[in-house]
């Protein structure tokens, strides 16, 4: 058996959160990763393959971050159980790679000592060694290695070849995987031992990093800090719109060209192969309509938002990598606590601006169950990126492009107001929940503020690649399937011989839409909107393409069908209806995927029903009030 074909040694990366563990994992495994969940729980499991220069393959597991093996969270419990071999379905790792932050050794060395007590072969990766050196923190690696009794290597996870020494140590460990580290002496205390290690091997500079202190003086200031956060958020949203436009226009043009080609080029091409009869049958047949009006228009209408999603995630990943996000959470803690949330809710709520699903899933980092439930319930009120196309469509059609006060763009202000309405509603809902529970207890926010660091392009690229793949898989799966189903429901059955209305009125979807108007007429919704709301429950982006398909199929002729959706809406809807639909989408009951995620994350059907019910009620009441007031003011 050669080294390349031998059973791979199972290594587990273990370490405190923010130790650079995941960056090191990315460095070691590249794109050879598999992301899933641990069986039975919703904690992410990342496994990858490391192929060493010798050709030997290692299975590398990125364990959830843990501050201690005496768990206070699900993540820590999984890490402990897996290392001890108690976790169902998971083999005990053959060896551990304990990743520690060289700039924060007081915290991380204590954990190393805990991990050493597990009695598994291990290597300590002294990560961010370069940053520590720049700050004047001198670590005597050899002395530390001798004192710990386990190999210690310096790594710079964000630098190419920054883990070379680690790979060499892993290779050595692979040759003798049974070298067990020495246990802590009887009666020894972890904190005392940590202090001893620090005194033996670490020389700290007289003061902590000047850069961190200088930045924190401003960025954690109760006034300037909040101001800086507001400016950062403002810039992110500006960039999402400003930077994405050229690429979005390109995707739009590509979609239009492809749709046109299917209707003419493809028909001519197939006609030249199979004959004129086939060409005529294809040109007048339903397949071209399915491909052109259904698949290409629908999928193109959704893929166009990929640039915006990637820009938003690039900022979120960069902020996360830079160490700023925990500081933002710290800044907002007081404000969010007053509304019944905590600073830890900040990151899940921020993620929800892209999509409520990752936002809800990231509430796993909130240890307090009460805070976690409150965050899950309000996360769908953050304006997810899937709502952007709906807002953009309606604002473009109904809000005039004019300046307010000579400076601000009216359309931009309306969009900002819609986002703010979502945020304020979330704060109000969580405040009501707090009052409802009569909860006066305080949950202190304990956060480790990591040192500032420059985000590494490689990690950003890997994060964005993962995000793009997730989105494209969704487009190619559920969204494509829904688009085809909607086209079918809008096209069949055809109109009877004595039809007096357009054919679409006789279709399955047409009939459903007309039936639903009984419920939604008080909100000013017509049957076309009612139809679009149904596929929108599976993916909100589909509302725009559904409206486009409905109006294209309702059109009297090809010229009318080819008209852009925006002027059609401006011509056929009242302002009151448009405002009502905009307000509906601030609260719009979540998509089915969000329902499923809430049920899974809370393990409760009741919580899912509460969430869906209160959002539907809010959406209905707010839209009803908006429509009725607008009509009373003469906008109907």
């Amino acid at each position: 058996m050669t080294v390349a074909t031998a059973a791979p040694l199972r290594l587990a990366l273990i370490g405190n959160p923010n130790s650079g563990k995941t960056a090191l994992f990315n460095q070691l495994t590249g794109s050879r990763q598999k992301v899933a969940n641990y069986a039975g729980v919703t904690v992410e499991r990342k496994e990858g393959r490391l192929i060493a220069p010798s050709g030997r393959s290692y299975a590398l597991l990125d364990l959830p971050g843990a501050y201690s093996l005496t768990p206070s969270s699900l993540d820590e419990a999984i890490t402990r159980d897996l290392c001890r071999g108690f976790y169902p379905g998971e083999a005990t790792p053959d060896a551990l790679v304990c990743v520690i932050d060289a700039t924060n050794l007081r915290l991380h060395l204590r954990f190393v000592l805990e991990v050493r007590e597990l009695g598994l072969p291990m290597v300590v990766a002294l990560n961010m060694a370069d940053v520590a050196a720049r700050r004047g923190i001198r670590v005597d690696r050899a002395a530390l290695e001798q004192a710990l009794g386990v190999p210690v290597v310096e790594t710079v996870a964000v630098r190419h070849n920054g883990a070379k020494a680690l790979v060499e140590r892993i290779e050595a460990l692979g040759a003798s995987p049974h070298a067990v580290p020495p246990p802590l002496g009887a009666g020894a205390d972890l904190h005392t031992e940590t202090r001893r290690l620090l005194s033996l091997a670490v020389t700290m500079p007289a003061r902590t990093s000047r850069i961190d202190d200088a930045l924190d003086r401003w960025l954690l200031h109760p006034v300037f800090g909040l101001l800086a956060l507001a400016v950062i958020m403002f810039l992110i949203f500006q960039a999402v719109y400003a930077w994405a436009t050229p690429v979005m226009d390109l995707i739009d043009a590509g979609t239009a060209w492809l749709g046109e080609w299917v209707k003419t080029g493809m028909v001519d091409m197939l006609g030249s192969v199979f004959g004129e009869g086939f060409r005529t049958a294809l040109a007048d047949g339903p397949l071209v309509s399915l491909l052109g009006d259904g698949v290409i228009a629908g999928i193109g209408g959704v893929i166009v938002f990929l640039p915006q999603i990637l820009i938003l995630f690039a900022f979120i990943l960069a902020l996360e990598e830079s160490g700023y996000l925990p500081r933002a959470a710290f800044l907002l803690d007081r404000m969010m606590a007053a509304a019944g949330l905590s600073g830890r809710s900040f990151i899940p709520l921020l993620s929800s601006f892209a999509c409520a699903i990752p936002g809800i899933m990231s509430t796993r980092s909130i240890q307090d169950p009460r805070d976690r439930i409150a965050t899950i319930l309000v996360a769908p009120l953050m304006t997810c990126s899937a709502r952007l196309p709906v807002y953009a469509l309606l604002i473009g059609a109904f809000i005039p492009q004019q300046k307010v006060g000579g400076v601000f763009n009216l359309q931009g202000l309306v969009l900002f107001a819609l986002y703010m309405a979502g945020i304020l509603s979330a704060l109000m809902v969580s405040f009501v929940m707090k009052k409802w529970r009569r909860d006066k207890s305080e949950h202190a926010l304990l956060l480790e503020l990591p040192s500032y660091r420059m985000p590494h392009p490689r990690d950003l690229a890997i994060g964005l690649y993962e995000r793009a793949m997730i989105f494209l898989k969704r487009v190619g799966g559920i969204i494509l399937a829904l688009t085809i189903l909607l086209w079918f429901l809008l096209s069949f059955p055809g109109a009877p011989a004595d039809a007096t209305m357009p054919a679409i009125d006789y279709s399955f979807a047409g009939r459903i839409g007309h039936a639903l108007t009984a419920v939604f007429a008080p909100l000013g919704f017509n049957w076309q909107i009612c139809i679009a709301l149904i596929p929108g429950m599976a993916a909100r982006e589909v509302v725009v393409s559904s409206l486009a398909t409905v109006y294209a199929l309702s059109a009297a002729d090809d010229n009318a069908a080819a008209q852009a959706l925006s002027p059609i809406l401006a011509h056929t809807w009242s302002l009151a209806t448009a405002l009502s639909l905009l307000v509906w989408f601030i609260y719009a009951p979540q998509c089915l995927s969000t329902w499923a995620t809430i049920r899974r994350e809370t393990n409760s059907w009741k919580m899912m029903a509460v969430s869906a019910g209160y959002l539907f009620a809010l959406a209905y009441l707010a839209s009803f009030a908006t429509y009725q007031i607008a009509v009373a003011l003469g906008a109907g």
Partner: protein, 81 residues
């Protein structure tokens, strides 16, 4: 009916059925699994023709299932071991 039109309707029928199946699997994974089990069980009973048993085995869902199919990101089910 022109053969070309018949082919189009056949393709559309396939696309619509496949789409319905995908939506069912994504949105209602447990119900879909139960339907598969209910369909497959009578097919694989002793005494059934070999082709029917083979078909039943194809329809039967894999052991262990595949998460609860939130359809959010297609990326959160347990790893296939």
């Amino acid at each position: 009916m022109h053969a070309a039109l018949a082919v189009q309707y056949l393709l559309i029928a396939c696309a619509v059925l496949a789409s319905a199946w995908i939506v069912m699997k994504k949105q209602f994974p447990h119900a879909t699994r139960r339907v598969c089990v209910a369909l497959a069980t009578p097919m694989v009973r002793d005494g059934r023709p070999a082709w029917l048993r083979a078909l039943g085995r194809r329809i039967a869902p894999p052991r262990g299932g595949s998460g609860d199919g939130c359809s959010g990101c297609d990326n959160c089910g347990p790893a296939g071991q």
